[in-house]
Symmetry: C2
Subunit: 288 residues, 2 copies
């Protein structure tokens, strides 16, 4: 595994790969790798000649009161995990190299960025879209892999890549879960044992919502009530939002007909967690 | 000359050129071609295997009270001029193809877009950066050519291409002028004879400013006063701004040391015209 820690060396290297007509599969991450990230690497290994992973905790996607400084980091551990998963090139740039003095350019996928997580995290998705646009420019992937866990992120990046003709195919891969259903997240390490147990209500209420819809429920209000009622039983869980929205425009739906995204964000203790399912009326859950 | 009027066909064609390792020189325009545009085509013909020109009057860079609807258009005339200048591929997309229903992504070069023309045209440079990002994605140029006439635009695009690692070299080419000095612009056709005559004060006051600086003047206030005094003598000319700014950050300078951009925007009658020079203290004008 090659480790590249400068933007210019990474650009040079990816241009070389393109000249050799090698396809590049790309997994952008903020590190503190877990099974979710590694499943994306395995998908890239299967489809592409070269699997590139980036590790970059992107300051501009964190709000002033968010956890940028305390976001978990452990490069040595990540390096070993990346190597064992078969990453060919690990790109690990510094903040100063990504955002040098005088940096000025931002990308916003406006209509999709104020919904769901965008409402409580203003500027978050502008930060995400900007760093991914930069990473796509540096890495020049053919395919980039994102987890459905961050469905809004994946949908926004897909829209950006289409709108700006970036020539990158975006693949949204299934959320990886613990055996008991909790969606795997780098932020799960913040949870106490009790919070970890209460946090299960997120995946379970989504399962319940999926069950209702599979059995014919088309009224989003009834499904939302079922989710809210379940979550309210857990004292350490405070809902940020629960939303049933279209998977293209992220607008809340009046009736559950075509494919919808059911997304939850909640504080479990002081830790903000998200989870979601994508489902069609009267069909089983279909991760895209 | 090949004419391509769809985004998808143009994308397919430019990917084919890249596969054949042909270099692409690109001249994005809003049509109503004049000698300024054609000089850019000639530069592209000299440096690159294939010269691509786009003609697209970009709605999102016009303000609600600006001249989008009445902006001059004459495709047949443009087609002949492009052919005669040696354009290999003329890309002529529709608004609906560039901004389909649900279009959502915008690019802003924030720090550079509020200065100079950005102050009186809010959103203008966001519209410009967005359309050029799209065109770069579709056309995949090695080099893109912009006229110094729109120096702020060229500086913003250069910054965007660097910040987002677009792999496109931006060349700013000298402003083309009428024999009497008026900078050539598609908007010059709006001028009456008297306005056309008064409009000469723009290039002449810039010449005067250049003369002062070449003879040692380093105080921007004195140079600005000289320009303002000359312009005020012309009754049909109303200054929007006169600015002496750094060519990298477009911030107004306290002293004329390194390279500066002296830029003027003024209404001549109801027509807004711009002109500029780039100059170093005690040296002759150096178009980049």
């Amino acid at each position: 595994m090659k480790i590249v820690d400068s933007v210019s060396r990474m650009s040079t290297f990816t241009r070389l790969l393109k000249k050799e007509a090698k396809t590049i599969g790309f997994v952008p991450t903020m590190g503190y790798l877990h099974e979710g990230h590694l499943s994306l690497v395995r998908a890239a290994k299967k489809h592409d000649d070269t699997a590139v992973m980036s590790i970059f905790v992107n300051p501009i996607q964190f709000g002033p009161k968010e956890d940028f400084d305390k976001y978990p980091r452990d490069f040595k551990r990540d390096e070993e995990l990346a190597r064992s998963a078969g990453v060919d090139v690990l790109f690990y740039p510094s903040v100063k190299d990504m955002y040098p003095h005088g940096y000025a350019t931002y990308v916003a996928v406006e209509a999709l960025s104020s919904a769901l997580c965008g409402a409580s995290r203003p500027g978050h998705f502008k930060g995400v879209a900007t760093v991914v646009a930069k990473l796509f420019g540096i890495v020049r992937p053919d395919i980039a892999y994102f987890g459905q866990k961050d469905a809004q992120q994946a949908i926004i990046i897909k829209k950006m890549a289409e709108d700006l003709h970036m020539g990158v195919e975006i693949k949204m891969m299934p959320t990886i879960r613990e055996p008991d259903g909790l969606a795997i997240s780098s932020r799960n390490i913040y949870l106490t044992d009790d919070e970890r147990s209460d946090a299960l209500v997120l995946s379970r209420s989504l399962e319940r919502a999926g069950h209702l819809i599979k059995h014919g429920e088309k009224n989003p209000k009834k499904v939302l009530t079922a989710i809210n009622d379940m979550i309210k039983e857990k004292p350490s869980v405070k809902i940020d939002y629960v939303s049933i929205a279209g998977t293209k425009d992220l607008k809340e739906v009046d009736t559950i007909g075509s494919e919808v995204l059911i997304a939850i964000a909640a504080y479990v203790g002081r830790t903000r967690l998200i989870d979601n399912i994508i489902i069609k009326a009267a069909l089983s859950a279909i991760p895209k």
